[in-house]
Symmetry: C2
Subunit: 106 residues, 2 copies
Amino acid sequence: MKKELPACPVEVTLQLIGDKWKVLILRDLMDGTKRFGVLKKGINGVSQKVLTANLRMMETSGLVSRKVYAEVPPRVEYTLTKTGYSLKPVLDVMTVWGEEYKEKME
Amino acid sequence: MKKELPACPVEVTLQLIGDKWKVLILRDLMDGTKRFGVLKKGINGVSQKVLTANLRMMETSGLVSRKVYAEVPPRVEYTLTKTGYSLKPVLDVMTVWGEEYKEKME
DNA sequence: CAGTATCCGCACGGATACTG
DNA sequence: CAGTATCCGTGCGGATACTG
């Protein structure tokens, strides 16, 4: 049931991060490890279900690692893997472009 | 009915190009002006409807310009605007990252 | 050729309730 | 707290047919 990687490299990238929520998750995790609840609070408007689903995908893609602590109440922390962190330049370029675009449009 | 720009710049960019087809259209148009039919043939698997819709969106976003020739049979050409072309670095970074990711995964 | 118009199915996201 | 489970509505993309 694994999704095939597209032939075109730019599509590969898009498939992994081209998603309303995934970029926001990545951006939040660039600062460092965060708990599920903190992520949820930081990202405005995600439901649990969708956030969980996105994190799972990113885990299978190797972008994010998930650490569960055997505590009560449970604690789960998410961290970027090296691969995940290597997306920083991509996000940066997108951010810069977005800023310039917004300025131009005002 | 115009879509609001999100607060976060990276979301702005994503809203404009974070779409399976839009990146492919952009990539194809980076080479220069193309006719509708050529675009359709170049992009594997798009339906007319969806291609048209995407081009319209990109036109309203100011990424693409559309030129109609008063001929029979009709000819319509699409060209990147300056703003559209300014996305090149973004696509390039995404492409490079995608290539590296694919290598790593093999 | 380059569209518009219409119908249709289903995948996806939201809301809610329940659990280890 | 950090999830799963379930139901449900709609929106988007595909297919097809028609047109300037």
